[in-house]
C-alpha cells in the first residue's frame, strides 16, 4: 500500500511522548456531530444527530447507524467515509470468525478486532489514523454491551457515553440521568433528551437517528416516524 518512498509511518512521536496525529484525529472526532449510547438493563440504545449540509440532500439516502452483525450495531462521530471503511472491515472479520468457529462473534471480540485495525493505521507506512470514534452496541450471551473505540485503537466499555461536538454537556447530562436498572424505553427517552440539550434548531425524526437492540438480539435502526412517536412522548 503506498509508494515505497512512503513506507515509513506518518504517525511519529513528539518529544513529549505524544502521537500528534492521533491528537489531531481526536480533534476531528470532537468537531463531528454528537452521538451517544446508553446501556440499559435489557438492551442498548445509540443515537446521533443527522444534520445534513443542505436542505436539498435526500435524507433517506443517509444512514449513519449501521449493522456489523445481526446483533451488533455501530454509530460514529467524525469522518463518515472513515467509518464506512471500518464497518466494512469489521463485517468481513465477523464473517471470518463465523466461518472459523461456526458461532456468532461475541461483542468483545469484534470490538477488539476493530480496535486492532484502527491501531494498525497508526503504525503503518503511508497511512493516517482514522478520524472517527465508534460506539459499538451489541447484545450477546454476556448481555447488553456498549463500547467506545478511539482513533488510537483504545477501547472502553461504557454504561453511557457521548462523543462529538457536545460531548462535555452530554456526558454531564448522562451522569445525572443514568441509573443502573434503566429499562430500554427509559434509555431511549434519556438519549433523546441528551441530544435535545445541545441541538440547534427543531429536533425531529428526520434530523436524528436512533438504533436499538433489546433481548431479541436484533439490532435495528428506528424509522423516522417511530422517532417522532418517541419525541412526542418526551415532550
Amino acid at each position: 500500500m503506498g509508494d515505497s518512498q512512503y513506507s515509513f509511518s506518518l504517525t511519529t512521536f513528539s518529544p513529549s511522548g505524544k502521537l500528534v496525529q492521533i491528537e489531531h484525529a481526536l480533534q476531528a472526532v470532537g468537531s463531528g456531530q454528537t452521538s451517544l449510547g446508553i446501556k440499559a438493563a435489557n438492551g442498548v440504545v445509540v443515537a446521533t444527530e443527522k444534520k445534513l449540509p443542505s436542505i436539498l440532500v435526500d435524507e433517506t439516502s443517509v444512514q449513519k447507524i449501521q449493522l456489523m452483525t445481526p446483533n451488533i450495531g455501530v454509530v460514529y462521530s467524525g469522518m463518515g467515509p472513515d467509518s464506512r471503511v471500518l464497518v466494512r472491515k469489521s463485517r468481513k472479520q465477523a464473517q471470518q470468525y463465523f466461518r472459523l468457529y461456526k458461532e456468532a462473534i461475541p461483542v468483545t471480540q469484534l470490538v477488539r478486532e476493530t480496535a486492532a485495525v484502527m491501531q494498525e493505521f497508526t503504525q503503518s507506512g503511508g497511512v493516517r489514523p482514522f478520524g472517527v470514534s465508534l460506539l459499538i452496541a451489541g447484545y450477546d450471551d454476556n448481555g447488553p454491551q456498549l463500547y467506545q473505540v478511539d482513533p488510537s485503537g483504545s477501547y472502553f466499555s461504557w454504561k453511557a457515553s457521548a462523543m462529538g461536538k457536545n460531548v462535555s454537556n452530554a456526558k454531564t447530562f448522562l451522569e445525572k440521568r443514568y441509573t443502573e436498572d434503566m429499562e430500554l424505553e427509559d434509555a431511549i427517552h434519556t438519549a433523546i433528551l441528551t441530544l435535545k440539550e445541545g441541538f440547534e434548531g427543531q429536533i425531529s425524526g428526520k434530523n436524528i437517528e436512533i438504533g436499538i437492540i433489546s433481548a431479541d438480539r436484533k439490532f435495528r435502526v428506528l424509522s423516522s416516524s417511530e422517532i417522532d412517536d418517541y419525541l412526542a412522548e418526551v415532550e
Binding site: M1, F8, S9, Q95, E120, G125, G126
Partner: protein, 272 residues
C-alpha cells in the same frame, strides 16, 4: 521497520506443490481417499416457489461414512443449495458463498438474489478449473421470482424447471421426466421430490438412508430434515441383550489385587 498494510491476496489455484505431488506418486504413494457423497440430489420449481430434496448417505468408497448427513446447505434465508461430489468441497464452497452473500446484503441493504449466489459459485469453481469437486443444485425465491440452477464442478451452469445431480441422478430423473408438469401445488411438489429421492435411495448404492426436503416460497422457507425415513433399523430387542455367566467358555483366570494408594499424612512443609 514498519510493515506495510497487506495487499489483497490474488485468487486461483496455487500450482506450487504439483511437481512434489507428481514425484511422490511416482515413488508409489497411495493418495488417501476423500469422502465423496455418492448422492441423489434434486430440485423442482412449483407454482409458489422451489422444492429441493436430497438423500442422507455419505460414502468413503464402499463404506458408509455418515448415515444421516445434511446435504442441503444454507446460503441465505431465501436460498438453499444441495451438494454432490466431495463433501468437504461442497461444505466449504457453500459456506464461503453464504458468507459473501451476507456481506453483500449489508452492503446493498437488500435480500440476496439467486443469480448472485450462482455467479459467486460459478466464478469460484471455474477459477479452480474443476479441482473443487462440487456439483450443486441451487434453488431459491427472490424479488424476481423462483429460480432453480445446476452448477457443475468446472463452473458451467444450467437454469431448469427440474434437475437432478449425483450418482442417483438417473434414477431420480426417470421419476421427474414421467411425472413433472408445470404448476404443481406444494403437496404435489414435495411428494414428487420425495419419490425421486427414494428412487435414488433404493436403486443407487451411493445413495441411501433418509429423505431431506426443503421448500422455499416467497417470504418463507421450510427445511424438513428427515422428511421420510424409509430405512429404519428393522429389529431392536426391547429387553436389550443380556450375557449370563457361563454362556462364554472361560479358558483361564488370573486375579491381580489393586495396589493400595500410599498416602503420607502430616510431615513438615519444605523449607524454601
Amino acid at each position: 521497520m514498519v510493515k506495510m498494510t497487506d495487499l489483497p491476496i490474488k485468487g486461483g489455484f496455487s500450482f506450487d506443490l504439483c511437481t512434489r505431488n507428481q514425484m511422490l506418486l511416482e515413488k508409489g504413494l497411495q493418495m488417501p481417499p476423500f469422502r465423496k457423497t455418492g448422492t441423489t440430489i434434486v430440485g423442482l420449481v412449483f407454482q409458489d416457489g422451489v422444492v429441493l430434496g436430497a438423500d442422507t448417505r455419505a460414502t468413503e468408497g464402499p463404506i458408509v461414512a455418515d448415515k444421516n448427513c445434511e446435504k442441503i446447505h444454507f446460503m441465505a434465508s431465501n436460498i438453499y443449495c444441495c451438494g454432490a461430489g466431495t463433501a468437504a468441497d461442497t461444505e466449504a464452497v457453500t459456506d464461503m458463498v453464504s458468507s459473501q452473500l451476507q456481506l453483500h446484503r449489508y452492503a446493498t441493504g437488500r435480500e440476496s438474489r439467486v443469480v448472485t449466489a450462482l455467479t459467486l459459485l460459478k466464478s469460484h469453481l471455474f477459477s479452480y478449473q474443476g479441482h473443487v469437486s462440487a456439483a450443486l443444485i441451487l434453488g431459491g425465491v427472490d424479488v424476481t421470482g423462483p429460480h432453480l440452477h445446476t452448477v457443475y464442478p468446472h463452473g458451467s451452469t444450467d437454469t431448469l424447471p427440474f434437475a437432478t445431480m449425483g450418482s442417483g441422478s438417473l434414477a431420480a430423473m426417470s421419476v421427474f421426466e414421467s411425472k413433472y408438469r408445470e404448476g404443481l401445488t406444494r403437496e404435489e411438489g414435495i411428494e414428487l421430490v420425495a419419490e425421486a429421492i427414494c428412487a435414488g435411495i433404493f436403486n443407487d448404492l451411493g445413495s441411501g438412508s433418509n429423505v431431506d426436503v426443503c421448500v422455499i416460497t416467497k417470504g418463507q422457507t421450510e427445511y424438513l430434515r428427515n422428511y421420510q425415513l424409509p430405512n429404519p433399523r428393522t429389529y431392536i430387542s426391547s429387553k436389550g441383550y443380556s450375557f449370563v455367566k457361563g454362556q462364554t467358555e472361560v479358558l483361564s483366570t488370573k486375579i491381580t489385587p489393586i495396589q493400595p494408594k500410599v498416602e503420607t499424612v502430616g510431615g513438615d512443609a519444605m523449607e524454601e
